[in-house]
């Protein structure tokens, strides 16, 4: 389980997160939702240590990540897989080399073993015959899938996805959502997804954290969300006509 306790984060004096606390449960898909600019990405980056928190702590299975230095964080970092908004694939490396990259850096596997693992991960995200292609030669949806393959190559305990559906068509979005859900169940990962896509919430929302004005405004399950009486939550969740009709 990942526990976020009372974290604050400010940039140039402007508070982006204020006293945020929440838990991300093991083996579940945990969603961070909220409008753009409310602090979702900052919360995720504070959780994984890309931003240092000003106050508060983050615990990965009772290990205080916030108080660790670069060296102490390394073992935990190797248990984390992250899918970035734009994929963040290394442009100079092929798809195969991208997925193999963490294996090259942190394992003593032979080339044959690494290739087997790469092919397994690519097959797992339904990608075939793309090993030798470069990121510039594949579509946005394929880039996201390669990023997921790279993230799972080291068998992570924690999987973070920052807006995995942004820029994708609805059909591909569902494919990506299902893939993340399947991987969470299959590998028992603690998955944290940052999204403002309500389809993803419907598809995968087991545990939902609603961030509003830099605060943890509401927390609960999808069923609780449907019957929530919080004004800000309802304004966001039921903003579209589709969702309003669904509620009726």
């Amino acid at each position: 389980m990942i526990e976020v306790k009372h974290i604050d984060k400010a940039f140039s004096g402007k508070k982006v997160l204020e006293d945020v606390s929440c838990n991300f449960e093991t083996g579940k898909v945990n969603l961070i939702i909220g409008q753009s600019g409310m602090g979702k990405t900052v919360l995720m980056k504070c959780t994984v240590g890309l931003f240092e928190v000003d106050k508060g702590s983050v615990f990965f299975d009772n290990r205080n990540f916030s108080e660790m230095n670069f060296k102490e964080r390394k073992p935990i970092r190797q248990e984390i897989g992250m899918v970035f908004q734009g994929g963040a694939l290394f442009d100079s490396l092929s798809v195969e080399q991208n997925v193999m990259f963490p294996l090259n850096m942190f394992t003593t596997m032979t080339l044959k073993e690494k290739l087997e693992r790469v092919n397994f991960c690519l097959h797992r995200v339904n990608l075939v015959n793309v090993n030798k292609l470069f990121p510039s030669e594949i579509s946005g949806g394929m880039k996201k899938r390669v990023a997921i393959a790279r993230a799972i190559s080291m068998n992570p305990k924690y999987l973070f996805c920052d807006e995995p559906n942004s820029g994708l068509d609805p059909k591909t979005s569902i494919v990506i959502d299902n893939l993340i859900q399947e991987i969470t169940e299959e590998f028992k990962t603690t998955t944290v997804i940052n999204t403002h896509d309500m389809n993803s919430v419907i598809e995968m929302g087991e545990k939902i954290v609603f961030i509003y004005k830099g605060k943890n405004w509401w927390e609960g399950s999808y069923d609780e969300l449907k019957h929530c009486d919080n004004q800000e939550v309802n304004d966001f969740v039921f903003a579209s006509k589709v969702m309003q009709n669904m509620r009726k």
Binding site: F70, R77, Q78, I80, F84, A88, F90, D91, M105, F106
Partner: protein, 248 residues
Amino acid sequence: MLSRTWFEIGRYWLFMKSLFIKPEKFIVYYRQVMHELVSIGVGAVGIVALTSVFMGAVITIQSAYNLINPLVPIYAVGIVARDSIILEFSPTIIMMVLAGKVGSSIASEIGTMRVTEQIDALEIMGINSSGYLTLPKIIAAMIILPFVVLLSMFLGIIGGWLAGDLSGTVPSPDYIHGLQDQFLPFNIVFAMIKTVVFSYIITSVSAYHGFYTEGGALEVGQSSTRAVVYSSVLILIFDYILTQLILA
């Protein structure tokens, strides 16, 4: 303005310190160094060769033009061309040309990796991103650029010889006599010391500016420009310091 300068200097030294954390895997760094040797060294040969031949030719013809005096022997043109090329033109001017070519390339490469979250992806994996991206470039430049400068010296002298002989201003025997007269081998050593220092400046300053790029494509361009300007100014300052320390 002054506080910003101190901030940049302090951050540069912290950046330098971060390069020397123990690498995750030496073999990966070794491969990166080999890759950079080709990228930095071989990639620079064309522009260096072209610049050197023509600058050698211009130095010879201008020296001949300025030394029309019955009291000055014609072979003095060879001495002037040799010393100008070895002491100043190849190690300083060529390195400033390389600050434009290699420096901007490093800054834009690392800057693009920053704005597309590729550096965040490295850090999430637990990799010392500054060391992984910068140290191989610094090592490779300090190894290969002295050879590039030696090539520049050779081509500059050849260019001068061809220009002097073909234009009839400095006959070959006089030029060759001038090249050999009062030759100090230490001048080559001095040029190599300068080249190694300038190689370090170009790669570290450019990588620093790329690494701390914030924003998008526009800021990548600005970082690249800043890298070239700062590298060039530092080359001029250190050229004076090294000349004063070693030759004065």
